[in-house]
Symmetry: C2
Subunit: 115 residues, 2 copies
C-alpha cells in the first residue's frame, strides 16, 4: 500500500496487493455495515439496529460511499409506502471471505493476553 492509497481516499497503485480491500474495510463502521448485509438485503432501520452505536447520519453517509464504490446497491420499491432496501453487489459479497478470515483470527486471538 502506498501513501496515496490511504484511508482518506485515493486509489491503490500496486504498492501493496491488499490495498484496495484495506481501503474499504479500514473505514470505521464499514465492516459492521457489510456484516449486517451479508445475509441479504436490509432496510435502513434494520441496518441501524444491527450496528450498535452508529448514528443515522453516519450510516447514511457510509451507505452513500459504499454505493459510490460499487459495494452496496440501493433499491426502491414503488409500493405504498415506498420501500427502500440496501444490498451487497457481487463486489460486496466477495468481501465475505475477508470478513470470515478476520472472524477466525479474532475468535482465536482476541481473548488471549497480548504478551
Amino acid at each position: 500500500m502506498r501513501r496515496s492509497a490511504g484511508r482518506s481516499g485515493g486509489s491503490p497503485d500496486g504498492g501493496c496487493p491488499a490495498a484496495a480491500a484495506l481501503e474499504v474495510l479500514g473505514r470505521k463502521w464499514t465492516g459492521e455495515i457489510l456484516w449486517a448485509l451479508l445475509d441479504g438485503p436490509r432496510r435502513f432501520t434494520e441496518i441501524l439496529g444491527r450496528v450498535p452505536g452508529i448514528t443515522d447520519r453516519v450510516l447514511s453517509a457510509r451507505l452513500k460511499e459504499l454505493q459510490r464504490t460499487g459495494i452496496v446497491t440501493r433499491r426502491q420499491y414503488e409500493e405504498i409506502p415506498p420501500r427502500v432496501e440496501y444490498a451487497l453487489t457481487a463486489r460486496g459479497r466477495d468481501l465475505a471471505p475477508v470478513l470470515e478470515a478476520m472472524t477466525r483470527w479474532s475468535r482465536r486471538w482476541a481473548a488471549r493476553p497480548a504478551t
Copy 2:
C-alpha cells in the same frame, strides 16, 4: 463491532466477530507493516524501505503499538554494532490469511470500475 471497539482503542466486546482483526488492520500503515514482515524478521530501515511513504516517526510509533498488542516482537542482538530486528509473533503471522483474502479481493476487483 460495537462502538467501544473503535479505531482508537478499547477492546472488542462481541458485537461483531471480526472486530479484533479490524481494530488491528484498520489503523493506517498497519497492513503495510505486517506485509513487510510476512517473510521474516526485518531491521527498522528495511521495513522503512518496504513501506513507501511512511516516516521514521510513524513507523516507530506503529511498531511500538504492534509490540504492545502482541503482534510484533523486537529483538536486540548484542553484536557490535548492536542489531535490532522486528518479527511477527504467532498472533501476527496468523493475520496472513486475512491479508491474503484481502489481496485476492483487491486483485479481482480493484481494477474494475465501481459501477
